[in-house]
Symmetry: C2
Subunit: 648 residues, 2 copies
């Protein structure tokens, strides 16, 4: 059989066919080095340094840590014009947003301006993204507020609270920079896209709920962030609601949303929505100033100190009892801010087709926060909204960040008195309108359509944040994501392969419905590495496949089973428990009078099987290069045997 068909190798050819190779043994140190390199240096950052003279190496190293040295020499006047426009645009957004988010963190509003001055300058020198606009973000601000608020009351002890915020920022910077230096950037990868979608939407919901305080002009408000506490707090004091505040708030929110909608429909007019917050602030302040609304229940920002960032290095708190809280807050907010910054940087780099080195970005963001914490700034990163405006405004390089910093500097030096009458309710409206854009329900629907498990992760992050707290949501979502990975390994899928007609290709019978069974041979494929976590399951499952196949054969009266082929193509690795499992499967098949056959074990698997003496146990003649060759050879031998028997 088969010799007439092109797809079957001739018997003569088969005899000299290639065997599955046992890869040449590698010294332990070499393979360890390779694994470490792949784990920590997958992007091979030192490649460009190879074979270069020392002076060139120095320059390359400087350019590596300070990308500004790389692009500054090529900077043109055209670039400057573009960066000037985008820089001023983002500054107009940065000033009201900075003040709003600082309020969210229960910090003095002026800190929001400080944080838009020094950190962008640092990032402009060290960052590798051309589009990232540096500034504070709502989620991290809220987290700082809720985590530090548990330890110190911001109204009772504002000084200690402020110092703790600087300390937390310092540790966030240290964590971020260390992750970069230790090449542990991949930890951020464990925040999957689904987790981030759910987490961001949840945080946005929570932040919006917090704004009810400002919109309704409430004086007392819960420190909890979950929806139940907030609703209880709001509805337990209906008599305190201020209609003046509410009307003002809803009016400005409507204005902001309308401009956003307009800019979305007409991307050319991106500046309409970018300018809207500053316009609202100016309008709101004028309104209050003219109507003396601050005396009728509309709260205002009040006095803002003139002048640039004071140094705050001596304010950092490195002693108990608050050190642990500061470290914990820094760790969590640092990682979250990092995830946002890197995701945003990567997205825009993708649009413009340049490359961003995650670990380098971490060092840049970390340094920016360490320096920030010493100059009266709190946690900054690359917020999505501001970076999107920056991108739309046509920024060319990180110079737009420098322009923004200069604009903020002028504001700090000259314009702070103008914010005296800015009503808090306008800030609340600005925050809400920014947050609504973060609730990406379309992404959630997309997740549901493609991958139900990702949807579950997303929803658990959302519900965890909204009904529990930001940390709970995050931990639950990451735990479920990791559980999924573990489940994938613990319960790999196994399936039966069948022959695709007129070929030597064998494929999953459920995926390819036109496949044919191979008489007397059961072909199984395992689609995950064989590890301790699944060794027990696979043994049971393979035994059950054999049972089921024998039952089926009995009922149809086909020739009885003789061979079980395990296709190991998709088995990436095997550990000692896995080898024991194969030993046991061999015992099971031996007991039933079946021959176990392996197909296409990969290099790692082959190496381990060889060391574990399994190849000796099964015999190398029962290991084939492909399922097709295995089947052909087994059938050929069978027919050969049969012919011989008939001859006798």
């Amino acid at each position: 059989m088969g010799s007439a068909d092109y797809a079957y190798p001739t018997a003569a050819n088969l005899e000299c066919a290639h065997r599955v190779a046992i890869p040449p043994p590698q010294p332990f140190v070499k393979s360890l080095k390779y694994s470490l390199k792949e784990t920590f240096f997958p992007d091979d950052p030192l490649r460009q340094f190879k074979n270069q003279p020392p002076s060139k190496k120095l320059i390359l190293g400087l350019q590596y840590f300070f990308p500004i040295f790389e692009w500054a020499p090529r900077y043109t006047f055209q670039f400057l014009k573009a960066d000037l426009i985008s820089g001023i645009t983002i500054a107009s957004l940065a000033i009201p947003q900075g003040i709003s988010y600082a309020k969210l963190a229960n910090l003095p509003p002026i800190l929001g301006l400080y944080s838009s001055f020094i950190p962008p300058l640092i990032y402009a020198m060290m960052g590798s993204s051309k589009d990232l606009a540096v500034g504070t973000v709502a989620v991290a601000s809220l987290l700082i507020g809720s985590m530090l608020g548990k330890e110190v009351n911001a109204t009772e002890n504002p000084k200690l609270y402020l110092h703790l915020a600087f300390t937390a920022t310092f540790f966030a910077g240290v964590v971020q920079a260390s992750l970069g230096v230790l090449r542990l950037g991949f930890i951020v990868d464990f925040l999957s896209h689904a987790t981030i979608v759910g987490f961001m939407a949840g945080a946005a919901t929570v932040v919006c709920l917090q704004q009810l305080k400002g919109i309704l002009g409430l004086e007392h408000f819960t420190h909890a962030t979950d929806i139940v506490s907030v609703m209880r707090s709001v509805f337990s004091q209906t008599h305190e609601w201020r209609w003046e505040s509410g009307v003002l708030g809803c009016g400005f929110l409507f204005f902001l949303l309308i401009t956003r909608y307009f800019s979305k429909r007409q991307p050319k007019f991106f500046w309409v929505s970018a300018m809207a917050p500053l316009t609202s602030v100016i309008l709101g302040s004028l309104l209050v100033y003219l109507t003396h609304a601050e005396k009728h229940g509309v709260q205002v920002i009040g006095q803002l100190k003139k002048g640039l960032n004071p140094l705050s290095f001596e304010d950092l708190v490195f002693v108990s009892p608050h050190l642990t809280t500061a470290i914990k807050t820094g760790l969590i907010t640092g990682v979250i801010a990092l995830a946002e910054g890197i995701a945003v940087g990567r997205s825009f780099a993708m649009f413009k087709n340049y490359h961003i080195d995650g670990n380098k970005e971490m060092i840049a963001i970390g340094t920016m926060n360490i320096v920030g914490s010493c100059t009266s700034c709190y946690l900054t990163t690359g917020p999505f909204s501001r970076s999107a405006v920056n991108y739309n405004a046509g920024c060319k390089t990180a110079v737009s960040n420098i322009v923004m910093a200069i604009a903020v500097m002028f504001t700090l030096l000259l314009l702070t008195p103008l914010f005296h009458y800015t009503p808090l309710v306008v800030l609340a409206a600005i925050i809400i309108s920014a947050m609504l854009g973060l609730i990406d329900y379309e992404a959630a629907i997309h997740l549901w359509n493609i991958d139900k498990f990702d949807f579950v992760v997303c929803m658990s992050a959302y519900l965890g944040v909204v009904f529990g707290s930001v940390e709970i949501g995050l931990v639950v979502a990451v735990a479920i994501s990791v559980l999924r990975l573990l489940l994938f390994v613990a319960r790999p899928r196994t399936f039966v392969l069948g022959n695709i007609p007129n070929s030597m290709i064998y494929r999953n019978v459920e995926q390819y419905t036109n496949t044919n069974n191979v008489p007397r041979i059961l072909i199984l494929e395992i689609d995950a590495p064989i590890y301790f976590a699944n060794a027990g399951y696979l043994r049971e499952r393979i035994a059950r496949w054999i049972d089921e196949e024998e039952d089926r054969i009995k009922s149809t009266g086909e020739p009885s089973l003789q061979y079980v082929i395990l296709n190991l193509s998709a088995v990436g690795n095997i550990d000692t428990s896995g080898i024991s499992m194969l030993d046991e499967v061999k015992k099971i098949t031996d007991r039933r009078g079946l021959q176990l056959v392996l197909a296409n074990p990969g290099s790692e698997v082959m190496k381990k099987l060889n060391k574990g003496k399994f190849i000796e146990a099964i015999g190398q003649e029962w290991i084939y290069l492909t399922v097709g060759r295995g089947c052909w050879s087994l059938q050929f031998h069978d027919s050969h045997r049969k012919t011989k028997r008939q001859e006798r």
Copy 2:
């Protein structure tokens, strides 16, 4: 080209070649049901109930939960004879071991005898192993002693301590039975073979160290279990060492080790080592009785109460403040005892070729401990040493456990006064000799040879137990094992494939050194599912492969790269982050003027790619059934195009 060679399909044939099938859509509920079944019912326990009349179903159900109904009707006199011998043999081991291990847990020695009476009877009815001999185990005893000892001092408040031990046993039983009922047996799989080897050796070392108290006749001893504390405790009181005790202990230890060595060399004389502990107890007691050594610094067991197990249901403590400790102790010791019991049961079932249902065993062991906790027993499971003796003695069914229980019953009713003069040092010698067998250094060497990572897991379990505590060792080892799974997914290996001469087979060029490059085509294989945890890495790595290949081509002057084939054979699944990653890779290749081609995506992957619109994006004509067909088709088209160009 190619048409003359058998291995290449003809062009005509290729045109009608099979495409990669998109599996038929499945309703969500059906696929969810399938996943749940594979996760929780991989062994399909209900299969035998299918198509049976109700009365038969009842009998099958009864036999399912009480396997004794299955084998009892077929029980023969031959079996009884064998079980009688093995039952008496294990009883002679159970009595001294039970007393020793109870001392290890700081519990009254009589509890060791109680625990060898009721639990074996329960197990004989419910257990599905024929070889497991039920009893207390050293590691769990030590753990109970150290965990409860932190909360309550056993000498100051013996009653509360005892009650807590019962309560912990109760919760251990509840945990074990629930794991079985909830079909969560696979949690035990996460204790890999390597973890267990290291953990057992560490626990054995710790238990041996604890015996220095008995051997040296010390009165005061540390409650800590780590080697540093124990050594400090031993050498800080050298003046308290009792030479009488030491000589006696070493003598008996020597005797026990010699008999064990003998029995190992001559398996026929297994009973020599099985009887040795009881012989030591009798000899030791006689020696003390005759020489009045108890008055010269040799501590003895003292008064043992006559009579069977008193009920202890009312002693269970279900109120604060000690409830949490009891639950925690129960949880940890329960899982560890379960792991040992099931591993032992499975090993012997493997030898005798019968099948053990892990979840059913959990229910049996759990019930046995729940009942035990109400009848003055503490945690029992299937110890390896005792079960091995049972197996060697030729036991046929669980009746050997019943025989042992009856022998222990007689001891309790009549023989307890005989143990009055038994010296503690003999018990210490018995424990040490049993423990030395658990230090399986050969297994550790085996792990080092086959899999370095497993060796690291094993050693960290060992060192964690010896230098930290039993819990620390366990947590560290499980964490490292799980980290390995995560690392496997986070850093999958990717490799270049080459053509195996005279075939359409493409394999890893590092494993098969005789492969040929395919001009203009780079073929990459990914050997893990594409998930959020590795999406970022894979994007970088694929980009780097392309870079390196283009560098190589530039230096050799080969024809430039045109196609990148991703072989997805080993990609078992993909999530939404993975689909985005493929989108990004497509952008990268498009930008460089390369065509991305996929080969052999599996059914799950194909389904997700279809839903995620990636198939539309790439075009179904660029997805091939195998790498071979892909390469052939691409080369054919190229040569076709070239010919056309030449014709023009």
